[in-house]
């Protein structure tokens, strides 16, 4: 097995173009498990650890965070919880402190597991994946990124440079069901983000379909409901019946399977509960901050 160690981003792209089958390794928390258990022995590994800029982030003029692909979860939790509250909440549930010191959003996207905890918050935030190759750079909307179980929209010569995530303009939540509090792969998960300026609500469902996905019908329902009842303006109480209906529609958007971690029926039920609760939490937060600002 060859171990390729480019020192710069340009070199990494050139190496990936020459060796499209080389497997990139960032934190290594997915790649190394496969190697240790001989599940997959690639002819070459492409080590991204020397490329400094992948570990950094910038804030654009429009407040979008350009998060380097290799920034570990622990940095996101410590440095970006205000701008990226949903992602930071998801990051807090990943593995253990040791895993969070290495695992990255770029690696979560590269693996594209339906259970990856970064995916629901990225969907709910409306993120964009910055993919690059020697041919140039393209921005892939997160809605178009996940193609199938562990399949994503990257071309063989492409690497993820960064993830562009708009800073939160309203409350965000993440919820995950697992058999215990730490070190657990999601049975199912859910993220919701309120976007008060755009009067929008976005969602992300994890581990309950072949890919992470949004609950579009639930989003359309709550958008119309908040508009029709004037709740964005009045910042009034959200009726429980509305939150329940939202939960049902989220559950309907999933296409779960029965597996060792849980049954399809359980996943649907859990999603409805998580969606109802997180919507109420975010709405109540929104009302509280609105009152504080007024």
């Amino acid at each position: 097995m060859e171990f390729l160690r480019p020192a710069t981003w340009e070199e990494a792209l050139a190496v990936k173009a020459q060796h499209p089958s080389a497997v990139p390794i960032a934190g290594g928390t997915d790649v190394m498990v496969d190697l240790n258990f001989d599940r997959h022995r690639p002819d070459a590994l492409l080590d991204l650890n020397r490329i400094h800029e992948l570990h950094t982030w910038q804030i654009a003029d429009d407040d979008t965070v350009r998060l380097g692909a290799s920034v570990p979860y622990s940095k996101i939790i410590d440095a970006l919880p205000d701008r990226l509250p949903g992602l930071a909440l998801g990051a807090r549930t990943v593995g253990s402190p040791q895993i969070r010191n290495r695992g990255s959003v770029g690696g979560n996207l590269g693996g594209a597991s339906p259970a990856g905890d970064a995916h629901p918050p990225l969907l709910a935030s409306g993120a964009t994946v910055e993919a690059a190759s020697v041919r140039g750079t393209r921005l892939i909307p997160i809605d178009d990124f996940y193609l199938g179980v562990k399949r994503n929209a990257l071309e063989p010569d492409e690497l993820i440079r960064a993830i562009h995530i708009p800073s939160a303009t309203g409350p965000q939540q993440f919820a995950k069901v697992g058999t215990r509090n730490a070190m657990v792969i999601a049975v199912c998960s859910f993220a919701v983000a309120l976007h008060p300026r755009a009067r929008d609500v976005r969602t992300g469902i994890g581990s309950a379909a072949p890919t992470p996905r949004r609950a579009s019908e639930a989003e359309a329902f709550i958008r119309a409901e908040l508009d029709d009842t004037g709740l964005w303006t009045s910042a009034g109480e959200l009726p429980l019946s509305t939150a329940k209906r939202f939960g049902e529609l989220v559950a309907r958007a999933a296409a779960p399977i029965d597996d060792v971690r849980g049954s399809a029926a359980y996943r649907r039920h859990a999603l409805a509960v998580m969606a109802r609760r997180t919507l109420l939490w975010t709405w109540n937060d929104h009302r509280a901050t609105g009152r504080a600002a007024a």
């Binding site: 171990f3 160690r5 390794i25 934190g27 290594g28 928390t29 190394m32 498990v33 240790n36 258990f37 080590d47 650890n49 020397r50 622990s74 593995g95 253990s96 402190p97 040791q98 895993i99 010191n101 290495r102 509090n181 730490a182 070190m183």
Partner: protein, 128 residues
Amino acid sequence: MRETLGLTGPKKGCDLGQCGACTVLVDGRRITSCLTFALMHGGREVTTIEGLGGDPEGDLHPVQQAFVDHDAFQCGFCTPGQIMSAVALLAEGHAGDDDEIREWMSGNLCRCAAYPNIVAAITAAAGR
């Protein structure tokens, strides 16, 4: 580390990143060494349990001493990883109370279930 450098403190437990027996510090941050190649950390400082106390003939590191004082192990297999993780936990400021310690030690398993004494040792090392 174990085979070439003879540093057998870090243990091979699960090889999956789940048990924490292989925990080392890289530039002061705890990671599971089973999920990384040394080659990926050129120019960085790696600390194993062997280097924690400084002088091998000298005193134990305070966290090592606290584990001895509180009998925070039985077979000892998980202990080097527990101690490395505990040192990082203290540096991160996550020893506020027992629940916080338990949560932030969640990457280290102990099949002998010495958990109550591990929490007591870390609490003592934190000066509470």
